[in-house]
Assembly symmetry: C2
């Protein structure tokens, strides 16, 4: 909670839940990444929060951008960044979307198989491609599925196919998993990436870039290492595996850039018990899984929650959203401690909500509006 | 797939995935419910698909409506239904939303605790309330959580509180769980409801209505009983537990009304393998969990999928969506059989997508537009 957000909420007159993002925090986070890895380019993962104000602020600071779609590419261009600061980082692209991105000036593309290489060779001749490799993700809050990337042994084949198709086989990318708290995760992935570089070199292809992806955590209830610690661990791993011949490097922070820059203000709609002898209260908020808090799925993220009754005696409660949908429950397996004095109508602040909230909101499930968003 | 939908898709020129709902099927489904339970009022669960065309068609047929919010109430009124055909069925309501619904003429409200009764007594004096009771949901594809309803033993207290607060203690509601294939589920719930009627009678409160909720299935890959079988089982259970003194009854079909009336047309974006010796292909569509297919979460619903290569030899594949999000995978634990000849660019038809698709779509995650919807 920053003073600017506090002041904004004090003056806000509109009704209903909202997220407020403080651009000063985003700027501080960008500077922290830039300082921690001074020789690495920062490509902000737009999907985390594509608010125009965030894209403009990062453009001014010199950030580049990781885009998942033509829609995101257009947003970044609209924010004033030039196309040479954009990576089309989705390994799954329609050929006509590749053509459109090429037309817009984008020259850097992700691939993880030969079929995607073929599309790019046809629709975006001569561009740079990097091949995403699978990574085991140990230590991440969400070890990613196998959806993106190919086995490292296949990557040289994919890159060689790109080379033969007239594309520039530019490098390798990986993602260590979201909310990655294990600093050693990058070490294993960089060792594998170095192996792909070597195999490509024996085939006469000189790779130049390693895209080290995202995974940098936001601070929720559990403590996480700071950005400088990540920088140090990554730089050490780079020198361990690439020696003096360091490649160009990219990181793609999304959650780590905007997560702790925003919070959601919500309202307690109802507090009840299911039977006279129930030991746990149910607390219902005016926001839930379908309007911003999708990442509570499987109770993965435990958001810090502030209430106007903090300091009073607490007791566990089940926390749920307002929709007529029984999966719209935030915390039940591990109930959440909240003040027993909490009352219907109280406003609560859900912290670290700057990433993956507005864009995960549904268009209006149950007739409740999509999450209102303010960037200040 | 109806001829009308086939013809519509043949003429459609816009790009991107879409859902198309055939109103004739919705009308047939309404008539099937009305025939199967001629003495029961049908309250369409608006949250399943609030498309204005659907609300208008059901208004014309004489349907009533189960609304989750003031937003949905306003949509139903805009479709031409009068307020006396609306139930504010959400047990979680802000007092100012209750006041707004009252102002709009709504006179029937759900409750499951005394705190909600107090709000309604203040904001909507004199209206009818029904108390939702917990139900075990055995046999449902999704046995609902304990989010809605109170223990049946508590219901008479809640209804008595309503009576004392000057409201009309009108009845009881339950929900046997979504996609309920067990016809006996209603029997147990109606037995419990009859018990609440008796206990209230001993307290001098004469309840008049049982709201039997939804749970009526749509036809996905697994076969389910037809509407007439449900009607018969429910009528039998009603007479078993209420004898000759049958209460007024309500059902709230959502999925059962519109689920099989619509389908999604999508496109194959990429087909790949993760390594040279991978036995399972990955097939990526231009629609996934975040743009309409949220109900594949935990691989709960297995949608029937038609391809232009049906009839060719099939092999299992992992099916995934187009976003840069590793949870955007539709079927992986139980791979989906699709023709081996399926190719990038092929259009596929995902059937029984009329319910819980458009409204579960995000506002535009990853820069992909919200699901396009056509009601014909």
């Amino acid at each position: 909670m920053t003073d600017r957000i506090r002041e904004f909420l004090r003056r806000r007159t509109e009704d209903g839940p909202c997220v407020v993002v403080d651009l000063d925090v985003v700027r501080d986070n960008y500077e922290a990444f830039a300082r921690a890895l001074p020789d690495t380019s920062v490509f902000y993962a737009v999907k985390a929060n594509p608010a125009p104000e965030i894209l403009s602020a990062l453009t001014e600071l010199g950030s580049s951008f990781d885009c998942a779609s033509v829609g995101e590419i257009e947003m970044v261009l609209a924010a004033g960044a030039s196309a040479d600061r954009i990576s089309y980082g989705n390994t799954i692209k329609k050929e006509r979307d590749i053509a459109r991105a090429f037309e817009l000036g984008v020259r850097l593309y992700a691939v993880d198989c030969e079929a995607e290489v073929e599309k790019i060779a046809r629709a975006a001749p001569g561009v740079k491609v990097f091949c995403r490799i699978l990574c085991d993700g140990a230590g991440a809050e969400w070890p990613l599925s196998r959806k993106f990337g190919c086995a490292p042994e296949m990557a040289p084949d994919v890159l060689e196919a790109a080379h033969r198709a007239g594309l520039e086989a530019f490098g390798v990318s990986f993602h260590v998993g979201s909310q990655q708290a294990n600093l050693a995760a990058w070490d294993g992935a960089l060792a594998t990436a170095a192996g792909v570089f070597q195999e490509c070199a024996t085939r006469g292809i000189s790779l130049k870039m390693v895209n080290m992806g995202g995974g940098f955590p936001a601070r929720y209830l559990k403590d996480v290492p700071g950005v400088p610690a990540y920088g140090q661990a990554i730089f050490q791993a780079l020198t361990d595996h690439f020696g003096n011949d360091l490649p160009q490097t990219i990181i793609e922070p999304g959650r780590g850039m905007v997560g702790d820059a925003g919070l959601i203000e919500a309202e307690v709609v109802l507090i009840s018990k299911k039977s006279a002898d129930d030991t746990v209260r149910w607390v219902y908020l005016d926001i839930g899984k379908f309007h911003g808090l999708a990442e509570t799925m499987d109770e993965a993220i435990r958001y810090p929650i502030r209430t106007p009754r903090d300091g009073d005696v607490t007791a566990p409660c089940v926390l749920a959203g307002p929709t007529c949908d029984s999966v719209d429950v935030l915390y039940e397996k591990t109930p959440y401690e909240l003040p027993v004095s909490l009352s219907i109508g109280d406003k609560v602040l859900i912290e670290s909500c700057g990433a993956y909230t507005t864009t995960y909101s549904t268009v209006g499930f149950n007739g409740f509006k999509a999450l209102a968003s303010y960037v200040i």
